[in-house]
């Protein structure tokens, strides 16, 4: 099963083609193809997940002799020569080119490293958090030669390990639910078929992206995901703001893509001309790549993460992307696509870990970017009146948590939060869509919502569960993952730990609670306003509510997959604790080992403080909205508060900076300056030369004795003007004339060179 994982992305790709080809003729407009495909995909993904769990429980015996023999047969020789790394993709490269190959690659545990293979006692139950080192479980890699050019073999293939298996299940499940939801939500849309076609293509590209085995394929998946995002954001492109939003998303992502490509090229050369992720990771982990190269690569890649995963200063496209249909927002801009950046960091974690010196230094770019994003995103969510924008900024903020977690070394924490966040954020988005569907397709919660609690009970309760998880109220899923992130910030990263990040995280938790309570107030409590008042909304049909309930149900329980074992939880049996960490985190040489890498440890006081911060946020918001306490109207009275509100409302002025300052400065002053240079300087040289000389001539003529120097002066003036005229005439505007000069000039130059060479 694990070697046939390529079928999973192939199916939706096929479905995309099918829907485009015949979708319009089918009774349900092609949605049935998408639904059926996704159902099959989900089953297959679960199959892959189960297969992986079995593989971890009983790791295959790695025949080291065979591995070594195979790597010797290949052209591989590691630069240092001390330690052989046998990455799966390269092992046995001498095999038939073009033929499919299945490798049980990945280097054995790493003889040289302190956490060697000997530490593993086999078996499943690795109880002790922070020291989980077991028998290596190599990834299942399958590659085919894609094409070959100039001696470089470009491979395509799949790589199944815990991370990709987890992502497969996540993406296919959420995509399936979104498909179900969409059949109702976009029913009767003008481009119904087109919509489902792109959902399929999006799912296919995301699945391909998470299964990638080479960085090249990763780039392809990354771009495909961006493309589908563009198409789906601009689904209703007839309205200008929507197509603008699509363009903005696309262009903002292009900025980061430069970083992606630069980073991947650096890695390609750093790993000795290889696109193989396992090889790159193994070499980075074993210290076979120079630190400077890793630093350059990881900083470049962070630019890509910033654009794709909406990190601060490149996040502006994400809230605008809410212009797309709501299920798309749930699928793409909350649950799957925006986590592509996180996934990429997780996949290439050794590069980042070593490149940014995570675990030994007290501060690094990744953690800073994440921490800043999580606080600033949360603050922005306070001033939005559009429910989807609140959720969008919340997504920005939560992605900030994940990036920060990766930055402080909490790999498991970040990925765990990715999973829990995907479920509860999808739940929240779909809930928002459900409300809007009932309230005249309005998303303005200040104007059109209110009092929906009684009208839409299912939406209300699922939304509340999602909110609870987002606010991190125990024992909902968000609590477990957010707490792990904070614990990572506290415990990892050398002697001092990442204390600033910890503080930022707690502030973020407080803000999250505040804005979510505010949103809940506007949506579900108070008196109905606007659209909700005019036409009393009713609960939606099962195709909308069932996905909500499924997501809410998962949100309730998913947190328990990584129950800690220490402290208050020592009673949890080994077979239950830390399942996520056990199965998802790769255990082979292509993942970081040693060098300060530890697992986060559950810390009771952090759990208490962060939960307290959350509850405080809820309480304050409760007092403000429900009880009407606090300085209401302060923005009208106090200048400082108003200024702060303005800054938030204008989203820190970033959009103004981008559109007015950067674009405007290029459009305005620089263009004008260029024009000025053109007019004054260039023309001046040609025309002015003549004119100035004439003036000079007149000056002399008037002041100095005409009789003596008359002729000379006039002569020089006329000459200058004449030469100016001649120069002017050369600019005929006819391309051919320029061509003639070009050829004549080239001939003369060539002649000079020939003569010079002959001597």
């Amino acid at each position: 099963m694990l070697t046939y994982a390529w079928i999973i992305p192939a199916l939706p790709a096929l479905s995309f083609v099918l829907i485009l080809a015949v979708g319009k003729r089918l009774p349900k407009g092609g949605s049935e193809i998408g639904l059926a495909t996704l159902a099959v995909c989900f089953v297959l993904a679960v199959g892959v997940g189960v297969g992986w769990v079995q593989r971890v429980n009983s790791p295959p015996k790695v025949d080291e002799a065979a591995l070594t023999a195979r790597s010797l047969a290949g052209q591989e020789t590691t630069p240092s020569g001390e330690r052989r790394v046998a990455p799966a993709g390269e092992a046995g490269a001498g095999a038939l080119p073009g033929g499919a190959r299945t490798g049980e690659g990945a280097a054995p545990g790493g003889e040289g490293s302190p956490a060697g293979a000997g530490a593993g006692e086999g078996g499943a139950g690795q109880g002790e958090a922070g020291t989980a080192e077991a028998a290596p479980v190599p990834a299942v890699v399958r590659t085919v030669t894609w094409f070959q050019s100039g001696g470089v073999r470009f491979t395509a293939g799949t790589m199944v390990d815990g991370l990709s298996a987890m992502m497969l299940v996540l993406v296919s499940l959420i995509s399936l639910l979104v498909h179900v939801y969409s059949t109702d939500y976009v029913a009767g849309d003008r481009r119904y078929t087109h919509y489902f076609a792109f959902l399929s293509l999006f799912t296919a590209s995301m699945l391909m992206f998470v299964l990638t085995q080479s960085t090249l394929q990763l780039i392809v998946g990354w771009e495909l995901v961006g493309l589908c995002s563009f198409a789906l954001i601009g689904h209703w492109w007839e309205e200008k703001p929507n197509s603008n939003a699509a363009l903005k998303a696309f262009i903002t992502n292009r900025v980061g893509d430069i970083g992606l490509i630069v980073g991947m090229i650096v890695l390609y050369f750093a790993a000795g001309r290889s696109f193989d992720i396992i090889r790159i990771n193994s070499m980075a982990n074993a210290g076979q790549i120079r630190h400077l190269l890793l630093l350059v690569a990881s900083v470049s890649l962070i630019a890509a993460v910033m654009s794709k995963s909406g990190q601060f200063i490149l996040h502006t496209w994400l809230p605008d992307a809410m212009a797309g249909p709501t299920p798309v927002s749930a699928l793409i801009h909350a649950a799957t696509m925006v986590v592509a950046g996180i996934y990429m960091v997780a996949r290439l974690y050794p590069v980042f870990f070593r490149g940014l010196s995570i675990g030994t230094a007290n501060i690094n770019l990744l953690a800073v970017v994440g921490a800043v994003t999580l606080v600033f995103g949360a603050l922005l969510a306070f001033v939005q009146s559009d429910i989807k924008k609140v959720l969008a900024y919340s997504t920005v903020s939560q992605l900030g948590y994940m990036v920060m977690a990766l930055g402080v070394g909490g790999w498991t924490a970040a990925l765990f939060h990715l999973v829990t966040h995907a479920f509860f954020k999808a739940c929240l988005f779909l809930g928002a869509g459900s409300m809007s569907h009932a309230c005249h397709h309005s998303f303005d919660m200040k104007k059109d919502y209110g009092g929906l609690r009684r009208r839409m009970p299912i939406t209300f309760w699922t939304f509340m569960i999602g909110t609870g998880a987002l606010v991190a109220i125990p024992p909902l899923s968000g609590f477990w993952s957010k707490d792990e992130i904070l614990a990572s910030a506290n415990g990892l990263g050398g002697p001092g730990g990442y204390k600033i990040m910890l503080v930022m995280g707690i502030i973020g938790a407080f803000c999250t609670a505040g804005y979510m309570t505010r949103a809940v107030w506007y949506c579900f409590f108070g008196e109905p306003r606007g659209a909700a008042a005019e036409h009393p909304p009713r609960e939606n049909g099962p195709r909308i509510t069932v996905p909500l309930m499924v997501l809410a149900g998962i949100t309730l329980v998913i947190g328990f997959v990584n129950v800690p074992t220490n402290g208050w939880f020592s009673w949890v049996p080994d077979g239950w604790a830390l399942r996520f960490e056990n199965y998802v985190q790769p255990r082979a040489a292509y993942f970081v080992s040693g060098g300060g890498f530890r697992q986060p440890v559950f810390t009771p006081w952090i759990a208490v403080v962060s939960t307290g911060a959350g509850l405080l946020g809820v309480l304050l918001a409760y007092l403000w909205f429900w009880r009407g306490l606090g300085p209401h109207g302060i923005t009208a009275r106090n200048r400082v508060a108003r200024a702060g509100y303005r800054v938030l409302e204008s989203r820190y002025g970033l959009d103004v900076l981008y559109t007015d300052w950067i674009v405007g400065s290029i459009k305005g002053p620089i263009a004008r300056a260029a024009y000025w240079v053109n007019q004054k300087v260039l023309d001046g040289v040609v025309n002015g030369a003549g004119r100035e000389a004439v003036k000079a001539g007149h000056f002399v003529y008037d002041r100095i004795d005409q009789g003596v120097v008359d002729t000379i002066v006039n002569g020089s003036g006329a000459t200058a003007e004449g030469s100016g005229q001649i120069l002017r005439k050369q600019q005929t505007g006819r391309v051919q004339t320029y061509g003639a000069y070009l050829f004549a000039g080239a001939t003369v130059l060539a002649a000079i060179f020939v003569i010079l060479a002959a001597n």
Partner: protein, 178 residues
């Protein structure tokens, strides 16, 4: 043409036939090119161009580049010249020829051209004086060319394909009536 093909098949003594063939074709090509850039009738110019292009294809056969020769005929003669004729006819070129097809002042162009011939001729004779082409050239087969294109020159090939797509779109956009 039959003689050339016989040569390509190796049915005739190679060097003499080759040299004679080269001379004749080269003469035709030079005359064709000369008429192409001097004739006052633009349709005639296109037909003289056909002569040059066909001659070039024949030269390729002489140099055992059979596949390129056939491509030259297919693309240049079959498509590009037809496009030219289309363009000429759509822009209403008169039958009698157009005295203003060339500009009046030909001296600078002639000087440039002559200088170029002189320079190139001197350099070529100086550099490659007596170099001879290998006498035992085997005609290149299509499979050899395709193997080269799809392995060593794959990336340029892809670049060309993208360029062609871009050109296609661009040509449509430019030519379309608003």
């Amino acid at each position: 043409m039959t003689g050339l093909l016989a040569v390509a098949n190796g049915a005739a003594p190679i060097s003499v036939a080759q040299n004679v063939g080269f001379g004749a074709i080269a003469l035709l090509m030079v005359v064709g090119a000369w008429r192409c850039v001097t004739t006052s009738n633009v349709v005639h110019a296109a037909l003289w161009l056909v002569l040059v292009l066909a001659g070039a294809a024949a030269q390729y056969v002489l140099m055992a580049a059979e596949f390129v020769a056939v491509t030259q005929v297919l693309v240049y003669v079959g498509a590009i010249v037809v496009l030219f004729l289309f363009g000429i006819m759509l822009t209403r070129s008169p039958i009698g020829g157009d005295a203003e097809l060339s500009r009046a002042n030909k001296a600078s162009a002639a000087v440039t051209g002559l200088a170029m011939v002189a320079l190139l001729g001197f350099t070529l004779v100086d550099t490659f004086g007596g170099d001879r082409l290998p006498a035992d050239l085997a005609p290149t087969t299509a499979s050899q060319v395709s193997d080269a294109v799809f392995s060593r020159y794959l990336l340029p090939f892809e670049a060309v394909s993208i360029l062609l797509t871009a050109a296609l779109v661009g040509a449509i956009v430019i030519a379309r009536k608003e």
